[in-house]
């Protein structure tokens, strides 16, 4: 093989490789049905029966101790379709009451198992923000994700223990339905198109959880009598635990307060 032939062959090979890549790129990727993909969860064991006549309730208020930080402003100007409240929700305090704290029974339930609710939990994207900002869900429970904005979002959870995924959702497209198989607290979800869009999903094994509302209040109902550890988790302020003992039909108030994180 002389030099010219070699050069020609090399040039042709490079062209062929390039064409192959181009061809691969031109093939439109099969879109996965938006509402069918979910993480495979193992079949749930039968739920441990709870006597409804003896169940207790834990409720309370979560406070912010000290001067609340000013909410950070969000600049949504990069997408004209984004309109709404331009404040971050990482620490939401009103009159000392702390919202968006995830409260759940961390310990004390032993080997009890619980039925996974058939109803889906809705996560809505509206005004280029997630509603709610803090979400609790049982492992295996369906999360229905909607887009009520006139712009495309991508939903991108970045879990540690569950499977990561990233899907775009154009305006007026069907809801995306997903579930998370494993327990995971503070699983971040973000939109890479609108970098201020962040929220957290908390995946737990029991139905005993709640998220504090704007007045810092929460309520966990239907708890069997026993000794428990209640965990209060806030995305910036961390986790605080309290031990509590509840008797049959008892309603116990467990308040909690968070101090501003040290600078």
């Amino acid at each position: 093989m002389n030099r010219k032939t070699g050069l020609k062959m090399m040039a042709v090979s490079m062209l062929a490789l390039f064409s192959l890549l181009l061809l691969a790129a031109c093939n439109k990727k099969e879109e996965q049905p938006a509402n069918t993909m979910s993480q495979e969860a193992a079949p749930a064991p039968a739920a441990t029966p709870i006597d409804p006549a003896t169940v207790a309730t834990v409720n309370g208020t979560v406070k912010f101790d000290g001067t609340a930080p000013k909410p950070s402003k969000i600049d949504m100007s990069q997408d004209p379709a984004c309109k709404g409240m331009n404040e971050a929700e990482n620490i939401v305090v009103a009159d000392g009451d702390l919202a968006n704290v995830f409260v759940y029974v961390k310990d004390g339930l032993g080997s009890r198992t619980f039925d996974v609710p058939k109803d889906a939990v809705v996560l809505d994207q509206q005004g280029c923000k997630y509603h709610p900002h803090m979400l609790g869900v049982m492992a295996g429970q369906t999360v229905q994700i909607k887009n009520d904005d006139m712009t495309t979002h991508n939903i991108h959870p970045t879990p540690k223990d569950n499977r990561e995924w990233n899907e775009s959702q154009p305006p007026s497209s069907p809801a995306i339905e997903k579930n998370f198989a494993r327990e995971e607290i503070m699983l971040p979800v973000k939109c890479n198109q609108h970098p201020w869009m962040k929220m957290y999903i908390n995946v737990v094994k029991s139905p005993f959880f709640a998220v504090t509302d704007k007045s810092g209040k929460y309520e966990i109902k239907g708890l069997p009598p026993g000794d428990y550890t209640i965990a209060f988790v806030q995305e910036k302020l961390g986790e605080q635990d309290q031990k509590v003992t509840v008797g049959p039909k008892e309603t116990k108030t467990v308040d909690q307060s968070f101090k501003a994180a040290a600078e």
Binding site: L7, A11, M14, K28, Q78, A88, E167, Q193
Partner: protein, 356 residues
Amino acid sequence: MRFCGLPSNAALIKSVVWSSGLGQPAQPAPNAGLSRARDPRGNTLKAIPTTYNRAHHIFAVFTACAAFVVITAGALVTSNDAGLSVPDWPTSFGYLVKVPHFVGGIRYEWSHRMVAGTLVTLTLTIAIWTLLVERRRWLRWLAVAAFCTVIAQAILGGLTVLFFQPPAVSTAHATVAQTFFCIAVAIALFTGRKWVEEQPRVEFDQRRPSLSTLALLSIFVMYVQLILGGMFRHHGMSWWPHVVNAVIVAFVLAWTAIRALSVYSQIEAIRRPAIMMLSLLIAQLCLGFTAFLTRVAWGKDAVQPELPMVAATVAHVAVGALLLATTVVLAIQVWRHVPVAFAEPIPQGQRDASAA
């Protein structure tokens, strides 16, 4: 012990040492019109006549500039946390070139993909053009290597999207990008009029460590810095290894540039990249400090990427790429103009160095 092993006659050096390598004067000397020549020791040497091809060179420069644009666009993607705003690859929202709704992070990611695609086409063109017109075999291979690198780079870009930006893959993507930029700059340098037509002015380097060693060491520490910076930016590592290594990089690069300027400032091909290297190093240190302040010190709780952080980081990446390419150019010019003089023991009883 005497310095020998290389004849002291510069013209002879050119024919003996560099006739088939990078430093070969592509335009044969007037008295070397033969395609083959013999040196006094009987080695048969090839002399490949090459002429300056202006269009080819301009295209090579254009390709290098395009690579710089792609690196800057990539830095914009990472700084705006927009890497996964287009979830599919190699298509973008199912299409190859259809313009999506051009808002938010999509603007950065989609633009990055488009300029990167253009760069692949440019690289393919320069590679084929080089294969067809270039007579220096090593340069033809370099052009092929450039094409392979840009393809590897595209695949790494795809993997980083499909596997949700694993720090190692994203860092490899950033590092290979700068490697490609250096190759493109080198091709532009080798096809330039000066490289093709000038008779290199040669001075031997008898200092230790040699300037050549220092230049290579500079490239090495910059690559380490590139990896550490990439790992930090892609959340695979803390910031401090990058900052600590910055001190080492500053020291090695300053040493290299000062050595080049203090000893070989009369050689323009050495002086110019050395001055540029020193200037870029100062700029890069300032930008690095600003990027640290805006990202780590002030911006750690930012709810979204803020303009000062984005501007400082993108400039830091862009100047870093220029600094690496300048160091590579310096290393090449040092290799061409300041060869290392080897010390060899002279056999006893022989006073004639050429006999060694």
